[in-house]
């Protein structure tokens, strides 16, 4: 028979015991509630070489596929709740288990983005890598992923259709639309109508899923900002225009402009575009200069990508400072 001391409560009456018992009960109870990490059947997996899929399985599949590996933390609430939400979020962005349901263009876009996220050390997430050191990618792994991305978009040499297409466009040389377009976020093409007489800031050409060649112009304010490196932040009124042409590639390495594709622009107006560090974006496609975006929300999507270039005031393609050189590493 138990004899309880009124001055010193026994084990079962002590506050520590009560709290511990309550927490234990709660801990057991929460194992039956809350989100769980699901593992649906893999229906349309990414089709790639074993070397590529091996790397991706090690570094990406826990979150970006239905093949999330089981371990104590994925099964034990409340940690499993956090992991389940993270996995759900990651799969909603792209899921290697249903990858083959995407169009080829979508697949290529995701692979190039993934390679660049890896190079930028944004993926695998640093927190995940700490817990899963095996997810770290070696320079050889990265080379394999780069080569895989490049293999998805091989060069087509002397593409006669592209040559003909460009020639037809030049020959037709349609008049510019009378009513100049305005983007859904209010950025008007009229503000850049004389850009051909602006300063060329740089040129780029891409060999990724958007093989193209581009000329980037700046108005007087933007050009001066580039010259003097006053780009953090860019001065109000800066306007940057990027003209994009498809490319015609030749075996000797020549890359020539093909059909005009689109004109993109960035305009610095901190009053109008407070949510995007003052940048308003627009894209006008084809000879008809059809504006991109059904509503103004696309501006946020553009800005999200441009955050990667925060070091350059959110502008990707400005030349390196004088004296700096980054050798091309084909």
């Amino acid at each position: 028979m138990w004899h309880f001391n009124k001055e010193k409560p026994g084990l079962f009456r002590s506050n520590i015991f009560r709290i511990t018992a309550a927490l234990s009960s709660l801990f057991i109870l929460i194992q039956f509630i809350g989100p769980r990490v699901t593992r649906p059947v893999v229906t349309h997996p990414l089709v790639a070489s074993p070397e590529v899929t091996g790397i991706l399985k090690r570094a990406c599949y826990d979150c970006h596929s239905n093949e999330t590996r089981k371990n104590l933390w994925t099964e034990l609430a409340p940690f499993s709740w956090v992991i389940a939400e993270d996995v759900q979020e990651a799969r909603s962005r792209f899921d290697f288990s249903t990858f083959d349901t995407l169009s080829k263009a979508q697949q290529q876009g995701f692979i190039w983005e993934m390679v660049n996220m890896v190079l930028d050390e944004k993926m695998p997430l640093p927190g995940y890598s700490k817990v899963h050191p095996e997810s770290g990618l070696t320079s050889r792994d990265i080379s394999v992923l780069k080569a895989y991305a490049v293999s998805l978009n091989p060069a087509v040499y002397h593409d006669s259709l592209a040559i003909l297409d460009a020639r037809r466009q030049r020959a037709a040389d349609k008049e510019r639309p009378v009513d100049l377009p305005v983007s859904a976020n209010g950025v008007a093409y009229s503000s850049i109508k004389d850009y051909q007489h602006w300063q060329v800031i740089s040129t780029t050409n891409r060999f990724d899923n958007n093989r193209s060649i581009r000329v980037i112009y700046g108005n007087d304010i933007a050009a001066e900002a580039v010259r003097t490196n006053h780009i953090k932040p860019w001065p109000e009124g800066s306007i940057i225009v990027k003209v994009v042409w498809d490319i015609i590639e030749e075996k000797n390495g020549d890359i020539l402009p093909g059909r005009f594709n689109n004109v993109q622009m960035m305009i610095k107006d901190s009053h109008q575009f407070k949510q995007s560090e003052g940048w308003g974006f627009a894209k006008f496609t084809g000879e008809g200069l059809v504006p991109y975006g059904k509503d103004a929300s696309f501006n946020a999507a553009c800005f999200n990508c441009h955050k990667a270039a925060s070091e350059y005031g959110y502008v990707f393609n400005i030349p390196l400072p004088d004296g700096e050189n980054m050798a091309v590493n084909h």
């Binding site: 060329v200 040129t203 060999f207 899923n209 003097t228 400072p321």
Partner: protein, 169 residues
């Protein structure tokens, strides 16, 4: 009081350094002197990108049947080394300036007027011999040194003038 002096001194040092760092960074942008972009091209083997500027360009409409260049036209070919774009694998950006070349189309008495139909094969603006070539800056992209021979000048001129103008909307 002494602490305030230290803090003020440190603040001045930090802001001063920051301003000096910013002021030291410059980017040279080529002044095209009113010329506009005629075309742009790159070469992955040479790792170069070039912009061709032109001082005057007649409208492209019906260009197939007309001389390609206006008599007296001046082309400026600016060639840069290609750089990797640090923000996007899959993209190259122009790097250091390699050369600036200038091509001037001679004023020929027999030059057909714009609007007069001429067979493309007889278009005098496509004859390299009708152009004056000069290397303004850097080394010749054709030879890699500053004094290209006549043959190289002819070939380089032919290569440049044969390129089509890019379409601007």
């Amino acid at each position: 009081m002494k602490n305030w002096i230290y803090i003020l001194g440190f603040a001045l040092l930090v802001t001063g350094c920051h301003k000096r760092e910013r002021a030291l960074v410059k980017r040279s942008l080529l002044n095209a002197h009113g010329k506009i972009v005629y075309t742009v091209f790159a070469n992955r083997a040479d790792k170069t990108m070039s912009i061709v500027y032109i001082d005057k360009m007649h409208p492209l409409r019906g260009a197939e049947a007309e001389p390609k260049f206006v008599s007296g036209a001046v082309l400026e070919v600016v060639t840069y080394a290609q750089n990797d774009n640090k923000y996007w694998y899959g993209s190259y950006l122009n790097g250091p300036l390699r050369s600036v070349e200038q091509l001037t189309l001679k004023k020929l008495d027999s030059f057909p007027r714009i609007g007069v139909t001429a067979k493309k094969a007889r278009d005098p603006s496509l004859d390299p011999d009708n152009w004056q070539y000069s290397l303004i800056e850097g080394n010749s992209p054709a030879t890699g040194h500053p004094h290209p021979g006549r043959r190289q000048i002819y070939e380089r001129t032919r290569q440049i003038i044969s390129k089509s103008a890019v379409f601007f909307p």
